[in-house]
């Protein structure tokens, strides 16, 4: 029987997280390995990335985890649920590439996602 021993493939965490790049408004870059299943918001909050407040804790009820997503990523993201666009009306300087990061659930598909954080959340 062949035993596969390659450390990279064998690493059980290899497939369980995605690298998310957070770019603050003053252009500091935080690249974080966020576990699959967590939201992009949780990845930021748990790793002290500044600028994402998430006052309501991820309930799509406050618009303080607002981020801008790089255009080429927009169509790869989960579609907006009812209510997200309504909340984005309240966000600070919303744009067409605005999303609430609590609604972006990390999976392999999001490997390499880059989000920019606005200068303020409210």
């Amino acid at each position: 029987m062949f035993l596969h021993t390659c450390l990279i493939c064998f690493n059980p965490y290899r497939w369980l997280m995605a690298k998310i790049k957070y770019i603050t408004h003053d252009n500091k870059i935080y690249t974080i390995d966020v576990k699959n299943g967590l939201s992009v918001m949780e990845g930021a909050v748990q790793n002290n990335v500044p600028g994402i407040d998430a006052d309501c804790g991820g309930g799509m009820a406050c618009a303080t985890c607002h981020v801008y997503v790089r255009e080429d990523w927009l169509d790869k993201l989960p579609t907006k649920e009812d209510g997200e666009e309504d909340m984005l009306d309240m966000a600070f300087e919303p744009k067409t590439n605005s999303r609430l990061s609590c609604q972006l659930i990390v999976s392999d598909v999001l490997e390499g996602l880059a989000v920019s954080i606005p200068s303020k959340q409210g």
Partner: protein, 337 residues
């Protein structure tokens, strides 16, 4: 000066239930809240959205939960101070002196902060120049609509407040309604009414536009708005109104000498007391290892904080553990014979 046992800051579910727990063990409490109504985030953020994780209540709305809590604390005749905010907290021997924005003064043996994520304040325009017009020709809420009589008013927003005021003021003002997209989050009936007013020429509607520039010396004279496609438009206007909902700000709590962790207050898990003896923090505003921002956690924290308050309010007495089902004194306090 109001002298009572406990002042609760915040009339959300956590603050309300804490008042119940205090009442049950025989302590008097009063509640201050910045909003004009009781219920906190439940009422402000999701009054008609269902909540599914209140123990033994399979489903209820934020409004129903609030009403039930109010019913539950009714026997205790809790006094509410709404539209008010605690500004100052000062130690006075073994007690605390508290002053609110409306200059109400309290002398209490302990304070329970159940302030959610802080007090709700209107979200503002992102343009810096807006600040100098605020309160003069730019408003985030309306106290007296007669101010706008026969004037041109430009309203920003797509929710119920924006739509309702646009409709109301269109009776005797020239209205421009500006919103960042074609869809509105306000009630469909209001949206229909807005479209009707627009077709009758009683209101100008600009969608996919956002505020770019404000001009004026003492008062606003015009605003420039920018379309998603980058084209701009200048609108003459006397007044500017922004309705972007509310945001929570920690506000004066920052100045009370409490140990903070980001936007939350650090507490112990024995009775949810802060680093200041006699000041407790419960609900979303407190933090400790394993904290869950759930309403049910707030209830638990409130029950323990109430017991923590007891030792300050009645230092000579011993609090005996009792069940509401069998306690004679609890039943008396609830007005049950």
């Amino acid at each position: 000066m109001n002298k009572t046992d406990v002042l609760i800051i915040g009339a959300g579910p956590t603050g309300l239930f804490c008042a119940h727990q205090l009442g049950l063990i025989g302590l008097k409490s009063e509640i201050v809240d910045n909003l004009d109504k009781v219920g906190g985030q439940c009422i402000e953020l999701y009054p008609d959205k269902p909540i599914y994780d209140i123990p033994a209540i399979p489903e209820c709305t934020g409004e129903e939960l609030t009403n039930n809590l109010l019913k539950q604390i009714k026997p205790f005749n809790i006094k509410f101070y709404l539209n008010d905010r605690v500004e100052e907290v000062k130690k006075n021997q073994d007690r605390w002196n508290v002053i609110t924005t409306n200059k109400k003064e309290f002398n209490v043996s302990s304070i329970v902060i159940a302030g959610g994520v802080g007090s709700f304040e209107p979200r503002k325009f992102s343009i810096k120049e807006c600040e100098k017009f605020e309160g003069k020709s730019l408003f985030y809420s309306i106290k007296d609509k007669n101010l706008f009589y026969n004037k041109t008013v430009t309203i920003f927003g797509g929710g119920d407040s924006a739509l309702d005021w646009a409709i109301e003021l269109s009776n005797n003002c020239r209205i421009n309604l500006v919103h960042r997209r074609d869809e509105f989050s306000g009630a469909q009936a209001s949206v229909d009414k807005i479209k009707k007013l627009q077709s009758e020429g009683k209101l100008n509607l600009y969608t996919k536009f956002q505020l770019m520039l404000v001009r004026g010396s003492r008062n606003i004279e015009s605003v420039t708005i920018k379309h998603d496609d980058e084209t701009t438009k200048e609108i003459q206007t006397d007044y500017l109104l922004g309705f972007f909902g509310l945001i929570m700000q920690l506000g004066p709590i920052l100045n009370w000498g409490l140990n903070l962790n980001k936007k939350t207050i650090e507490v112990n898990t024995e009775n949810f007391e802060t680093n200041q003896p006699g000041i407790f923090a419960i609900g979303d505003i407190c933090s400790y290892p394993g904290k869950l921002k759930l309403i049910l956690s707030g209830f638990h924290e409130g029950a323990l904080a109430a017991r923590g308050c007891f030792k300050y309010a009645r230092p000579e007495e011993k609090l005996r553990f009792e069940f509401s089902t069998t306690s004679k004194s609890a039943k008396e306090r609830l007005g049950i014979n």
